[in-house]
Symmetry: C2
Subunit: 403 residues, 2 copies
Amino acid sequence: MLQPRLASRAKRMRASEIRELLKLLARPDIISFAGGIPDEKLFPAEAAKEGYAKALDEQTRGISLQYSLSDGYVPLREWIVDYMATIGVQCDVENIMITSGSQQALDFIAKLYLSPNDTALVTWPTYLGALQAFNAYEPRFDRLDPMGNRSTAEIVREAEEAGGAVKFAYLSADFSNPTGQTYSREMREKLIEMADEFDMPIIEDGAYQALRFDGKSIPPILAIEQEQRGGDIEACRTIYCGSFSKTLAPGLRIGWVCGARQILDRLVIIKQAGDLHTSTINQIVIDHIARTVFDEQVDKIGSVYSARRDKLLAELKKHMPEGVSWTEPEGGMFVWVTLPKHLDGADLLAKSLETEKVAFVPGQAFFADGSGANTIRLSFSCADDEMIEEGMARLGRLIAGAM
Amino acid sequence: MLQPRLASRAKRMRASEIRELLKLLARPDIISFAGGIPDEKLFPAEAAKEGYAKALDEQTRGISLQYSLSDGYVPLREWIVDYMATIGVQCDVENIMITSGSQQALDFIAKLYLSPNDTALVTWPTYLGALQAFNAYEPRFDRLDPMGNRSTAEIVREAEEAGGAVKFAYLSADFSNPTGQTYSREMREKLIEMADEFDMPIIEDGAYQALRFDGKSIPPILAIEQEQRGGDIEACRTIYCGSFSKTLAPGLRIGWVCGARQILDRLVIIKQAGDLHTSTINQIVIDHIARTVFDEQVDKIGSVYSARRDKLLAELKKHMPEGVSWTEPEGGMFVWVTLPKHLDGADLLAKSLETEKVAFVPGQAFFADGSGANTIRLSFSCADDEMIEEGMARLGRLIAGAM
């Protein structure tokens, strides 16, 4: 009865595996670095409480509980316009659409661009949720590597041989999930050149962009491109996807898309067909929280998370056997660990759950081609000092024992 | 840059026209029967206020503001299981998935079943939002008419000639948008037979199902099918889409899907890829509101809306010239007016906005084949006595003048 193609796609997604993993968070005997979620103790709950009470007073309840327009709540979009200006993007309310989390933006963008057998360029590894969103439209994936040696012509030819075309490049440029790595300005410029050659949009996932702890900020790809195009956002091909999930709270499901109006107009139609609009009251409340505590909140998260990252990096250094390497992120929530080639992260996790009882995400699921078996992702966003000390001691023993 | 196919689809959707129409609601000189929205004065705002405050107390804020699982908040799904039992469907929590409004359910179901050139069977007319959701997957539409004269073989042959297969039938069985009409039990049974012949699911849109003012309740198609299959929901092909938008409040965007687990499992994967999950806090709050005031709320809405329907039917009778007919719904929010064949609802609206200043939705957009130009939809959910008296007097004059 169900489309067989989709059923097999469902298997590829491995969503159930990831869900099983997340359940481990709840098991008290496991020290978990698996869940890529923000620390709930840092949520701006008082501002949220105030925001909901205000949204439900007699003057506004008729608006906050009612249907609203698909492009989103105008005051929130105005706040986002101001925010985008602080990171170097000059835009207008019409260049912003609200989505139900940035995951929904990825789904809608894929819906707009991808037909079966088209090619999406993604980094090796990339955000698992992006692979899941894109997979529903049955593309093939090729490796996004702006500094690599393959020519545009070669990539295009292979895409055509597969029965489609190269439709977009997707990446998270700052402290990306899963690696924590940041693209240099040179890489970003190279990527814009590459997008011009392919005549394709760049999907820039900015989910972690505000969570920089140290190092020098690099403007978003969209900001660099806008500068190159004489300041004209309507001439830009980059589509920036933002999110309040990592800075404020994920439970309200509020994200946004920023880009040229001609693209946004089409995304608004897809949004309307997809769920009419994002929760009116949640948009009003996120607007309230953002206007009240955004900067303070980002500072607070940054100081807590950066201390956790420092601790994690120190304990990795102390406990990891030779032959193991890891990233040193300047922000975000993740450290990416590369094990010796013959080790398999999934095997290691299975073993860990019986012996050392430390949880992490095996890296293979983040690779569109199923490579990367010898990698694992560690999240430090919810880990306190004690967890990190004990957890890394256990992980070190586990890996040393498997080598 | 954009897929040309999608761009042309975007035009077909006529979403911008509908949005323009909705803006008329805000023009003080227009009496509008256009917007298909609930009356904001009836929203359970106090229960909502209480629900948000409770969801944000110190014990629960860490849950309500955090990520949650894609299938939905378990207590809310338990409430829905009990609710489904009251309308004749026996199911379990695993047969329920929460969606961001029932619009999202339609999108996800279309994503699961439709490939380009497949056939979706829909009523003539049908819910415009369903056509929009389905259109994104590039199907063709054929007319769903279980009591009609066309054979299954003929419909299947035409679907194959178009390059696809008949994938599902979609309908709203109770007080449907736009006609307000209800399918008889005999029609529902016939439809299940037909679905068996086609080996296809039935998508039952229950958005208005709870809003019955009078007449005898007819069990949902899913309930009738379950009875026929010996009580086994896992053997059922009907997928029921429910919504809190018409009973509680649309601004929270909470709906649900109820069906066999093998279908739900696939929809949960699509949900995860689509937006991870529906707003955690809104699910918790809808659970609170439903448990506190659902029955009371449905009674309140029913008594207000039924009085408005009575008034609208009485004024139609008073003011409509001969040759105009209309439905007499037993619930919901809409009356459907059929004009003499040579009149065009869109022309009439254009004229109305200059002269009589009464707004309605021209019916043609609700027909997948672009027929039905001589129909219009009137919504009575937000209309008070005075508006209805004055509005129908104007509409009567307008139509009489055009005849």
